[in-house]
């Protein structure tokens, strides 16, 4: 195997002063220059976005890069994409690089879809002939045939993103550097994009994939790099990195139970399921994502008037929400439940729960009469907000069990 990417002691320093008090005009700069004559730059106003990072990626490997906000993920990709220079250290790249730090870079709102495909393709490093060859495929992938000659400023945001991603997805570099671009579009399109990414990986290309989406990363990558405060904390099998990333405590998002045939109804399995992949999540759920609670239970004999319940509790034990299968959709199950295995999917919409840790309790019984089976706090998960402006830039958590964004109507005067 040959090495595709080799990084040796890569470091990148930013001077925070320059970023915070922007020296946009000559006057600002003169003032700052005068100040710095008296006060040399100190370690205080330096910020090491990356420090002594070294690793190797073999050709054909798909490696994830994960870390919290400000851990240096984006800086690493920017250096490898040659957008910014490292302060010290070096990196070797063996092969044609395509980098996707954003979809739709260089899209011009006044130009038509057709024109933007060529422009964006060229910006991403495709040859004109290459774009022309893949043109039909790109249009079909984006599903915008009818709007090819409409300026993209008239596109819906969904169409815009689909077109942008379609161009990017048809880039065929030997080494692909991807940053979080999957955090766009609706769930169905995200799924399609994940599929496309999987194809890229299977074709034997090298991919470095930065994402907050651990479940996508677990599906696509064999190995992952965990960055912490600019340092490479671990480079290992993606499963081990996932465990590390979620901390020692960990989250149980899928629990199975032995059958209890003596009971008329008992729980077989309960899972916290990702909306887009239909697989159990790794336990951390973006507030903007929503998720399912999937419950599988077995009924051993015909029963009447039985409800199944879910109760969501916050980490302090307070019950935030209860829901039963009689809530919205009785489906005549309340009258007679015939023996068999039942699977229920309960959708918890985005922004319902506020950020924090929660656990789920399942129970089945006849209200005020009997409880057949109950499993307390079997699965748990965390709702977090790392993608929104609030979570990403302001680093403050909105307290409360409910995450709903409410409308503020103003009367000013």
């Amino acid at each position: 195997m040959t090495v595709a990417i080799k990084v040796e002691n890569l470091s990148k320093k930013y001077v925070i002063g320059a970023a915070q008090e922007r020296q946009d005009t000559l006057r600002d700069w003169l003032v700052a220059a005068g100040r710095s004559l008296r006060r040399r730059p100190t370690a205080e106003n330096e910020f090491w976005a990356l420090r002594d990072v070294s690793f190797e990626v073999q050709r054909g490997e798909v490696v994830g890069v994960i870390g919290r906000n400000g851990a240096g993920k984006s800086t690493l990709l920017k250096i490898l994409s040659r957008i910014t220079e490292p302060t010290s250290g070096r990196a070797y790249i063996n092969g044609r690089v395509g980098s996707l730090l954003e979809v739709g870079t260089g899209f011009h709102p006044e130009l038509t879809g057709r024109e933007n495909i060529f422009l964006n393709g060229a910006i991403l490093g495709m040859r004109r002939t290459e774009i022309a060859r893949k043109f039909d495929e790109i249009v079909a992938f984006a599903e915008i045939e009818k709007f090819l000659d409409t300026p993209v400023k008239r596109y819906s945001s969904g169409m815009y993103v689909r077109l942008a991603f379609a161009v990017a997805a048809h880039l065929e570099p030997e080494i692909l550097l991807v940053d979080e671009v999957l955090a766009v579009g609706d769930a169905a399109f995200q799924k399609k994009c994940l599929g496309k990414m999987g194809d890229v990986a299977r074709e034997g290309r090298t991919v470095l994939f930065v994402s907050h989406n651990m479940s996508a990363m677990q599906r696509l990558c064999q190995n992952a790099i965990f960055l912490q405060d600019g340092r490479l904390s671990s480079y290992d099998d993606v499963q081990k990195i996932a465990d590390l990333y979620f901390g020692t405590k960990g989250y149980n998002t899928s629990v199975s139970f032995e059958p209890k045939p003596s009971l008329p109804i008992f729980l077989r399995k309960i899972e916290i399921v990702d909306c887009s992949t239909n697989l159990p999540t790794a336990g951390k759920i973006e507030i903007s994502d929503g998720f399912f609670i999937r419950v599988t239970y077995e009924v051993t004999k015909k029963i009447k008037g039985v409800h199944t319940f879910l109760r969501i509790q916050a980490s302090n034990g307070e019950t935030v929400l209860s829901t039963g299968d009689c809530d919205v959709n009785p489906a005549k199950l309340l009258e007679d439940r015939i023996p068999g295995v039942y699977t229920a999917l309960v959708k918890i919409p985005p922004y319902l729960l506020g950020t924090g840790d929660y656990s789920v309790t399942w129970s089945a019984g006849i209200p005020f009469q009997i409880n057949y089976d109950v499993e307390w706090n079997v699965v748990n998960f965390r709702v977090l907000d790392s993608l929104s402006e609030r979570g990403e830039f302001m680093h403050f958590r909105k307290p409360g069990y409910l995450g709903l964004n409410l409308e503020w109507q103003y009367v000013v005067g």
Partner: protein, 287 residues
Amino acid sequence: MTETALTKATDEFGVVIEPTRGLAALQLRAVWQYRELLGFLVWRDVKVRYKQTALGVAWVVLQPLVNMLIFTLLFGVLLKVPSGGAPYPVFAFAALLPWNYFASSLNRASTSLIGSANLITKVYFPRLIVPLSGVLSGLVDFAVSFLLLGVLMLVYRLPLSWTMLWLPFFLLLAMVTALGFGLWLAALNVRFRDVNYLVPFLVQVWMYATPVIYGSTLIPERFRWLLALNPMTGVTEGFRWALLGSRLADAAAPGGLFYVSIGISLLVLISGMVFFRSTEKTFADVI
């Protein structure tokens, strides 16, 4: 690692990313490799400029035309600026043409990096392409107004002359000058937004310092070397000579002072490229 292993390693790897020390190489070969992107950026510039304008390309003709009419009225008719025997409208237009090209190219080049901030922070390509596309996209406007000049010359029944073959050369000099100053200003603009205010002012002053509304013969002989320090003098006077040469009373082919103009604009171009390249590494961080 032994020396041979090290050289082998660098052979094996396509790109080595490391901090540049000292002056950066000009990387003209990389610009050539990205020529298709350059083409697309120029095409985008031209395409977008007249989208959703009612008059479209007519603006290209209208602007110099109105300028010429005003100049003719003010300086040709009222102030009677000597035009060396040529009809003043053609005399003025012959210089306005390259001047407008220069002024708009300089303006576009110096704001180009700021305008492409989203590209610069997200994609790699040789940054030189950005101001270069600003200078190249002005050529389309130039070509359109050049047709207008042709019409004007027909109206005044001015003959074609062999000296016109020199026009591309003078145009190239205008390009080199615009690019040279444009590179300096574009790179400075990333750091200091003062450039945005400076450029329109600079262009205005510069126009009066260049023989556009007047001919260089208006300046006393002993001060004329001062004009030569301005490369645009060579361009506008060159255009007049090439187009109207035989008509001008003091038709002097470009002489010694002209070489000074060329020298100066090449100097600005090369220093501009060096300055641009060595500040380029911080563009994405400070823009």
